[in-house]
């Protein structure tokens, strides 16, 4: 990672900053505080913790199903799909198999680019996304109900996938879209 500002910028700003406190978040006074904070952050990746914040009515598998059906539509293996989307094959497999897996934000961005829907719509499919309205849930349930795990997509499945992608491409979550 490269800093987005250079050392001249830092010197100018630091020089005019007052001498004061800058602390944020949890208190760190000893080494155990740091390790506990790291463990808490890591714990959040585990399914059991994410279940606690998951809205009860959200369909668990929406993102995984979307990825799985898109991959089948394009007749790609997990590895081939991962290469196209520029993420690791392990992560694609995790998205498909583990409904509570929360992908990296960059993965969401790349998936959205591939499926041609706004990244913001895909964010609403994540297990820890805040619930917004019923139209998304209805669309997800309809989409999930139409799917069957055959090798290629049937005509009905293809129609269902197209409808869902179309819905996601115009879904704005009740707010203005920002063009992303």
């Amino acid at each position: 990672m490269k800093l987005c500002v250079d050392n001249d910028w830092l010197r100018r700003q630091i020089e005019s900053d007052p001498i004061g406190e800058v602390e944020a978040g949890r208190g760190i006074r000893r080494s155990a505080d740091v390790v506990n904070a790291l463990e808490s952050a890591a714990e959040y990746q585990k399914p059991k913790d994410r279940q606690a914040v998951q809205p009860a009515s959200r369909s668990d598998a929406a993102l995984g199903l979307l990825v799985h059906m898109t991959r089948r539509r394009d007749r790609l293996s997990v590895a081939q799909f991962a290469e196209r989307v520029r993420v690791s094959a392990e992560e694609v497999a995790a998205i498909e198999k583990d409904p509570s897996y929360s992908p990296r934000p960059r993965t969401i961005h790349n998936l959205a680019e591939y499926v041609k829907v706004p990244a913001k719509s895909l964010l609403n499919l994540l297990p820890d996304a805040p619930a917004v309205d019923h139209s998304l849930e209805d669309a997800v349930h309809k989409f999930a109900a139409s799917s069957d795990d055959l090798s290629g997509l049937s005509r009905a499945e293809r129609r269902s996938l197209n409808d869902f992608v179309k819905f996601l491409s115009i879904y704005n979550g009740g707010t203005k879209t920002d063009g992303k």
Binding site: L3, E23, I28, R104, P130, T175
Partner: protein
């Protein structure tokens, strides 16, 4: 596990001039031991007599080993004079990483889980702190990470009461009020627009 990002300046309040320090990404056992040896006794005088036993460091080493290559968080630290001058943990995914800002509700952002400076750099604990600039450098690391993650510089945090003026006034973050779900600490966000303005800010 612990990698140097580069040399950055900190302002020495005793010398009245800038000194070189190193910005790191990641953490190792030596950093944890330096915090326990230097930070903890200044927070708690009794701590010096109750140094952690070997079992503590075995636990810490195992924990760090298990926490390598994290997907959803990053730890940054600054070192100068052989001491850890400050640390910051930034989370990149999860429930806290959705914007509450009216400019872009629910857009992804990075959330600062903690930003902490060494006790000798804190005005609240010591009359003349050693270095100024630790918070500024760590915060700009969070903005840089947000840009790297394609979050356009968006950053959120819960400020401790003594630091609110810094985040509101010096970093131009939006003060979104006290958060009853987080010990009533005030929640701040740096929006996309504010991030652009901050980076292009003059003196």
């Amino acid at each position: 596990m612990k990698q140097a990002i580069g040399t950055i300046p900190l302002f020495g309040l005793g010398s009245g001039k800038f000194h070189d320090a190193v910005l790191f990404r990641g953490i190792d056992l030596a950093t944890l031991q330096s915090i326990e040896a230097s930070w903890t006794p200044m927070f708690d005088a009794a701590a010096a007599e109750n140094r952690p036993e070997d079992a503590h460091w075995e636990w810490a080493a195992k924990a760090l080993q298990a926490l390598q290559n994290p997907l959803n968080y990053e730890l940054f630290g600054i070192e100068a004079d052989g001491e850890t001058q400050g640390m910051m943990l930034v989370v990149k995914g999860g429930a806290k990483c959705f914007s509450r800002h009216p400019e872009h509700p629910r857009m992804p952002l990075v959330y600062v889980d903690f930003l902490a400076t060494a006790p000798w750099n804190r005005r609240g604990l010591i009359e003349t702190p050693t270095y100024k600039g630790v918070g500024r450098v760590l915060f700009m690391s969070a903005v840089s990470l947000s840009i790297e993650e394609e979050f356009a510089g968006r950053v959120a945090l819960h400020s401790l009461p003594g630091a609110e003026a810094f985040y509101r006034g010096r970093l131009s973050m939006t003060d979104m009020g006290a958060d009853k779900d987080y010990q009533n600490l005030r929640y701040f966000e740096l929006s996309t627009t504010q991030a652009k303005q901050l980076i292009s800010a003059g003196p």
